[in-house]
């Protein structure tokens, strides 16, 4: 590719697929991904390979007992308002994160934090409840985008960051404009302005890039992306995909039966699911880790490859009657075409081993409600943060070890809770850590309440030929600062 | 005589398209001269309207026209569109039947009246308004300056028709065709309109073709008459000749079947059968199946007679013209035999029906909330009695509340006030169930025979329906009873299984009567039972009703607007005006010595089918129209139109009281026979 020097500025037009209506960087959901890295700076960043590098924090020192981290902030950095980014701001940000009302997606991650102490204008120390592995600490620092204290209460509607772009005009439901922050502490953005235009569907966005109305599509689906790639557009996959997981409510119906659940390890036609649902963009996986994750173990893919016979054998072992086998429904997301397709594939597959089940199609709030409260037998759902510290998957509802909304209290699989615990408490690097991971993987397939099928990309980027300098951000967020035109 | 304005020769009009061709007009010849009124009479479907439309070239495209029509030097049958258009409005003007629909509701009267002249470039558009005012003034519309910018809905029926006359006459055409111009109007309004038409004709010297089925109107205004039957002119001649010495059996039949207001004939002589259906005309003389002379004659059955001159200017299309005079003489005597002498109800006996101060007010609702904003006083204090076996006629102009009275008596409409006693029982206070039972003794015959029979039931079932409803079908004799009823009304039992649509209007009315009789009622309320029928059929039904009364001892409340019919059939007559009875008396007294000014004007306005009476009768033309029943005038409701109105009438409502010396009750402060000063 071209080096940054060759890139020209201008106005970058990005197609996005959902309206943005929240400027809180802690509201860390797909819809905000185009904004967070542009309006805010985090304490540290990861390289695409997962190596932490400084950002607002020029330095961070983990205490030898792994029970605290001392952060030194970069000096001379200001928020857009002109106020300095200092330790007070970080403290305010941490306070927000620890508040269940305001902490949003960061809140669960804060469970390891005991408190924090401010040391001078640029120093702050975060104390943990227990010794914490390094990965978990850097994950937290990477997750914390610093918000200007005075803006914390209004951050949902008014951005309050220090990032390379300043929020410009927002037309409800149509577009959001960000203009370059000329006083940015790093090299200022190449483009002078980013216009995020809301498209309500993939084809619309594809048509727009094809007609030259936009330069980039951010967050489109794999099928459209592949079509565009075949038409000569650039397709950029980030290092932070999700894993699609067949989530099982092990407290209901036949799913209470271990063997029955385990059969599903073999009932996932992962190749077909990846091909049909995601146009082959991604990788099949039997474990909930991204390729970059230290817990990744590819051997599971072959060991638990699609096999009706093995499944059949397990089903027989389960001792369930034919009627019991079919006594469940597969909840499917009616708003997601790919999800519908893969759910139908599973429905069709399980029919081959004698399970005649119905799809329970839900959408929107009703669906989230069901997922949040475990009102389902089985459902597909993407799992995030798989590229980070392995136990971060524990922030996803089905994998939660305490207060699991689906599996309930106490957790029905103590082995799983213990395995997670072990990963969390095995500090350092080396063999013990690896063994902890291996143990976790083994427990995962045995408890079988979540059956991963494949990775898939959110934040897939399709760019026109003349666009260069696209950063592969660890969370697949849009980084506008480095992009320019050839 | 001068040149004819219009000369029609051998006109034939056939409608094609949609099944078999319909020969609506089959060889018609006539001329119309300036300053002359040619009356065309004939029963419904005889081709009157089609002839007039042919003259103006306004027939639809499905009509094939043959023959010649020469109007003001234009040969209409071959002229191109533009010539015809130029002709219309300039050479010929038309007046149609229904003034409520002939005017465009969304344009002002003034615009519509002058539009033709503007289109023909006779007046510049800028002068239209002035011309409009002038035209309205010519047809006696009060306040023409204010009226010219009004819309049709702001005009009453009579005014609208006068506006139409103004419109037709605007371009001073040489020929006016008036197709039933007064049929939709009340007699008093008809009188106004006819006099305006006559006046305008005199002013312009135009020729007029007046199409009507009312022989009275013809006698009143026509100079010459053409009688149409089955698409042909069967007789034509000067008006006096036609009425005095008719030369065609059909004309004779028409005259004899007509009840007359000026004489108390005993019994009508109807023409047998039905008018022909133009799609299936009889062979030979079209009239032969109904003709007392030619019915069985070979020649009449096979050969269509030509229109021949019988006397100078008087032509007839009959093979047996010579015998027609005899027909007139001998059928007159025996048939006009003593009529049903109504069984003189013993006055002492309590009346069968006694209506006292009956009131029916309908709420007027308006706005989105449908709030009541006023009342229509449809019936506003009606008192009358009907004795057993007696016929009481109830007459009045349109909208005066006759139908409402009849229906309220039946309990079909809830009375607002007053009492209705039937056979000693107060009907207005009955529960719905009791009312249904009471109705067995009291039945109603509807005006429109076409809509009074359930179209999806056989006529046999229709007549049996009341018996089934009351659960007395078997008790009353079942199918046998139904067949008897059919015979009673003069229909063969073979038609029992047919549907109403297979019957003509007269037959339907017979079925309606049979149904009403099924329950053996004692009182029939007949709401205009013959108004929708042609005269010849009307006579059949009237005779039937009279026979039934004699046979079954029925009492009739006979509602009608036709004063002649009422006179013919009734024993006593009550006259209604704006929801009230204003005069009631024994028939002869009422017709010969009316004491209420309204009755007097009404009677004088009725055209008499006698051209000689034209000059001798004194006519009272009432000004204005019937007021709106929701806003009746104060005092005597009639005072704004009354020629005797005094200050008292304007404030004090007259009571309905007996008039001294006559068997009459009336509601007038200045009651008294005509001529007697008040």
């Amino acid at each position: 590719g071209a080096s940054a020097q060759d890139l020209k500025g201008g106005r970058l037009r990005v197609a996005i697929l959902a309206d943005i209506h929240n400027f809180d960087p802690m509201q860390f959901s797909g819809v905000n991904f185009p904004l967070i890295k542009n309006l805010y700076d985090s304490l540290i960043e990861y390289t695409p390979e997962g190596q932490p590098i400084p950002n607002l924090a020029s330095e961070w020192k983990i205490a030898p007992d792994s029970k605290s981290v001392a952060i030194t902030l970069r000096s001379g950095v200001n928020f857009h308002s002109g106020n300095p980014v200092n330790a007070e701001a970080v403290a305010a940000t941490l306070k927000k994160a620890a508040d269940p009302q305001k902490g949003k997606n960061v809140y669960p991650t804060m469970s390891i934090v005991q408190d924090w102490t401010v040391n001078g204008p640029l120093g702050i120390t975060i104390n943990f409840k227990n010794p914490v592995p390094v990965g978990q600490i850097t994950d937290l620092l990477q997750f914390l985008s610093v918000i200007e204290p005075s803006g914390i209460d209004t951050v949902e509607t008014k951005h309050a960051g220090s990032g390379p772009f300043i929020l410009g005009e927002r037309v409800l439901g149509q577009r959001v404009t960000m203009t370059a922050n000329a006083k940015y502490w790093q090299k200022p953005p190449i483009v002078s302005e980013i216009v995020l235009t809301v498209f309500s569907d993939n084809d619309a966005a594809s048509a727009a890039i094809e007609s030259g109305a936009v330069d980039i599509i951010y967050g489109g689906n794999a099928r459209s992306a592949v079509r565009l790639r075949n038409a000569g557009y650039q397709l950029i996959q980030g290092p932070g995909p999700l894993v699609q997981v067949f989530r099982i409510n092990a407290t209901r119906g036949p799913f209470k039966n271990d063997k029955f659940r385990q059969a599903f390890n073999y009932l996932m036609d992962r190749e077909a699911i990846l091909r049909v649902g995601y146009a082959g963009v991604g990788e099949v996986t039997a474990l909930p880790w991204a390729p970059a994750s230290p817990a990744t173990d590819k051997s599971y893919n072959t060991r638990y490859a699609f096999s009706l016979e093995k499944a059949q054998a397990l089903l027989k072992e389960s001792g369930l009657s034919a009627a019991e086998l079919s006594n469940w429904k597969l909840t499917a997301n009616g708003g997601d075409q790919d999800g519908m397709a893969i759910s139908q594939i599973v429905q069709s597959t399980v029919a081959k081993v004698g399970m005649n089940i119905q799809l329970d199609v839900k959408q929107g709030a009703e669906l989230t409600d069901a997922m949040l409260t475990g009102k389902f037998d089985a459902i597909f759902g993407g799992i995030g943060n798989i590229q980070k510290f392995p136990t971060r998957v524990g922030t996803n509802s089905i994998y939660r070890t305490t207060n699991n909304p689906i599996l309930g209290n106490p957790h029905p699989f103590p082995a799983y809770v213990a395995a997670m615990q072990r990963v969390d408490t095995t500090l350092g690097t080396g063999e013990p850590v690896k063994q902890a991971y291996d143990n976790l993987n083994k427990v995962l397939v045995e408890t079988a309440f979540g059956i991963p099928t494949n990775t898939f990309d959110i934040g897939l980027i399709v760019a026109a030929k003349n666009v260069g300098g696209i950063t592969r951000e660890i969370d697949n967020m849009l980084v506008g600062r480095t992009i320019g035109f050839r | 005589m001068s040149e004819p304005v219009l000369s029609v020769r051998g006109l034939e009009v056939t409608f094609t398209g949609g099944g078999r061709p319909v020969p609506a007009v089959r060889g018609v010849d006539f001329d119309v001269y300036p300053n002359e009124v040619l009356g065309i009479v004939g029963e419904s479907g005889s081709g009157k309207s089609v002839t007039s439309l042919a003259v103006t070239g306004l027939l639809p495209e499905t009509a094939k026209v043959q023959g010649s029509i020469k109007l003001a030097d234009v040969e209409v049958t071959t002229a191109d569109r533009e010539v015809l258009r130029q002709m219309r409005g300039q050479d010929v003007g038309m007046i149609f039947q229904d003034p409520t629909t002939t005017l465009n509701p969304v344009f002002t009267i003034g615009r519509q009246v002058t539009e033709g002249q503007v289109a023909h470039g006779q007046i510049p558009a800028g002068n239209a308004r002035g011309r409009g005012i002038e035209l309205l003034r010519e047809v006696d519309i009060p306040d023409p300056t204010g009226r010219v910018v009004q819309y049709p809905h702001q005009f009453s029926g009579g005014m609208r028709q006068r506006a139409v006359i103004a419109m037709a006459m605007a371009g001073r055409p040489r020929l006016i065709i008036a197709d039933e111009p007064t049929t939709a109007l009340d007699v008093t309004v008809q009188a106004q309109v006819l006099s305006v038409l006559a006046k305008r004709q005199a002013d312009t010297g135009a020729a007029v073709i007046l199409i009507t089925h009312d022989l009275g109107v013809i006698a009143e205004v026509a100079h010459r008459v053409a009688v149409m039957y089955g698409g042909r002119i069967v007789e034509t001649g000067p008006v006096h000749e036609i009425f005095k010495r008719p030369q065609h059996p059909y004309t004779v039949g028409l005259l004899q079947s007509l009840p007359r207001i000026d004489a108390a004939e005993e019994r009508l002589v109807p023409i047998r059968g039905q008018p022909p259906n133009p799609a299936r005309l009889p062979t030979g003389c079209t009239f032969h199946p109904r003709c007392p002379i030619g019915r069985d004659r070979e020649r009449c059955r096979t050969e269509d007679p030509a229109l021949r001159e019988v006397v100078e200017g008087h032509r007839s299309a009959c093979h047996c013209v010579e015998e027609v005079a005899a027909l007139l003489a001998d059928t007159a005597t025996p048939a006009r035999a003593p009529a049903t002498v109504a069984p003189q109800a013993a006055a002492a006996q309590a009346p069968l029906l006694a209506v006292d101060k009956l009131k029916v007010h309908f709420p007027i609702k308006a706005g989105i909330l449908r709030r009541r904003v006023g009342w229509v006083r449809a019936v506003d204090g009606v008192s009358l009695t009907v004795n057993a076996g007696e016929t009481v006629g109830l007459v009045g102009e349109s909208g005066c509340g006759k139908t409402t009275t009849g229906r309220a008596i039946m309990g079909l409409i809830k009375a607002t006030g007053g009492s209705v006693r039937f056979d000693g029982q107060e009907v207005t206070r009955l529960s719905p169930g009791e009312l249904r039972k009471a109705r067995r003794n009291m039945q109603y015959i509807f005006q429109d025979p076409y809509s009074s029979l359930n179209p999806i039931k056989t006529v046999g079932d229709i007549v049996a329906e009341p018996l089934h409803i009351h659960g007395i079908y078997e008790e009353m004799g079942g199918a046998k009873r139904i067949a008897e009823l059919f015979e009673l009304v003069g229909l063969p039992r073979t038609v029992l299984g047919r549907y109403p649509r297979e019957f003509s209007g007269g037959q339907k009315q017979r079925i309606g009567i049979a149904r009403a009789l099924a329950l053996q009622p004692r009182l029939l309320i007949l709401d205009e039972p013959v108004a929708a029928l042609d005269v010849s059929i009307q006579a059949q039904i009237i005779n039937l009703l009279q026979d039934l009364q004699k046979e079954l001892g029925l009492a009739y409340l006979f509602i009608a607007h036709d004063l002649s019919v009422v006179r013919h059939i009734s024993d006593r007559v009550a006259v209604m005006y704006l929801g009230k009875i204003i005069e009631e008396s024994e028939k002869t007294t009422l017709y010969e010595t009316p004491v209420h000014p309204y009755t007097q004007s009404l009677l004088s306005a009725v055209p008499v089918p006698d051209p000689d009476a034209r000059h001798t009768r004194r006519r009272i033309v009432l000004e204005g129209d019937i007021p709106n029943p929701s806003k009746p005038p104060p005092g005597c409701y009639f005072h704004p139109r009354c020629f005797r109105a005094s200050d008292r009438c304007r404030v004090e409502e007259p009571a309905f009281t007996p008039y001294p010396g006559l068997p009459t009750r009336t509601a007038c402060h200045h009651a008294g026979p005509l001529g007697a000063s008040s």
Binding site: S200, A365, E366 | Q86, G89, N104, H153
Partner: protein, 315 residues
């Protein structure tokens, strides 16, 4: 007239009040709450509880309704639970798009429909009439969503002339952009209504042609052009205005399906989205907006009626 209009608008209030109570009740009948969509599937119980409190769903239903009503009465329709934007702004953000599409569609409908109707009525039962009637049947019979797909296939996939999905571009800002984006959905809807317009107008023209006043007008010697163009058309226009008004009201209330086909950012999609997310205040607001639009357009039609039909007087 002014009094009449004011009265009609005042009568709208109870309607809105009853409707909003009805909608509120309906909302509660529908399973699912906005909380899930608000906090996300991975929220912790504390977060869920916090969100329930923040939105006020822990309050009894009547209390919630009363709170909403109180602020609604002073013109504040509340904020969207999901996006936190004022409901009024969200609606007004979409209203111009819907208005533009609705007017465009009506315009297309009239342009296509009126000539069809007039030609059909001038030559009833001719081959021309039959083929034009066939056209209107087709216009009505083709489901709009399928027609939309076909148009996209032709103009976007094949010819690549127009975008397959539309964004809202104001006609005042960029006429060309507006046309590019509005054309296909407007055409889709327009074809459909043109069928309704053509059928309706043809029928009323034909029935007016039979009216007696037409014969009267001819008997005066008016040119056929004037007979049809002035007398007949003016009368046929009366019921037609009502139909046009009805359709316009329907369009401006949002055309859910067409907006979905073209992903057009109109009121219909806003409502669907609000319903999917169970965004109560937004659902409430959008439905009330639709009701108001209906009533206002009906009122406009009635007022227009009074101008073209002299028989109607409002007092």
């Amino acid at each position: 007239m002014t009094g009449y209009i004011i009265r009609r608008i005042l009568q709208l209030l109870p309607v809105l009040l009853i409707s909003s109570a009805g909608i509120w009740a309906m909302i509660y009948a529908v399973p699912g709450t906005p909380i899930g969509a608000l906090v996300g599937e991975n929220a912790t119980p504390e977060q869920v509880q916090a969100a329930i409190q923040r939105v006020g769903l822990d309050q009894p239903m009547l209390v919630q309704f009363w709170a909403w009503l109180k602020s609604a009465l002073v013109g504040d329709l509340g904020r969207s639970i999901f996006s936190r934007d004022p409901v009024f702004d969200l609606i007004m953000g979409r209203a111009p798009a819907t208005l533009q599409l609705g007017l465009g569609a009506t315009l297309v409908g009239l342009i296509l429909g009126i000539p069809v109707a007039v030609l059909s009525a001038l030559y009833p039962n001719s081959w021309l009439d039959r083929s034009l009637s066939g056209w209107s049947a087709l216009a009505l019979g083709v489901p709009t969503f399928w027609l939309g797909i076909l148009l996209i296939l032709l103009f976007s996939v094949e010819l690549r002339w127009l975008p397959s999905a539309s964004t809202y571009v104001s006609i005042f800002e960029s006429p060309w952009g507006a046309i590019r984006n509005t054309f296909l959905p407007a055409l889709t809807l327009g074809v459909y209504v043109s069928g309704i317009f053509a059928r309706f107008l043809r029928a009323s023209l034909l029935s007016e042609m039979k009216a007696d006043y037409v014969r009267t007008a001819r008997s005066k010697g008016l040119k056929e052009r004037d007979v049809v163009g002035r007398h007949v058309f003016r009368n046929a226009l009366l019921p037609f205005v009502t139909v046009v008004g009805l359709m316009m009201a329907a369009f401006i209330g949002g055309t859910v399906v067409t907006e979905a086909v073209f992903t057009y950012p109109g009121i219909g999609r806003l409502l669907i989205q609000a319903i999917t997310q169970r965004d109560y205040p937004l659902i409430q607001g959008v439905i009330l907006f639709i009701l108001v639009v209906h009533v206002v357009i009906n009122l406009m039609v009635d007022v227009l009626y009074a101008y073209i039909d002299p028989r109607i007087e409002y007092s």
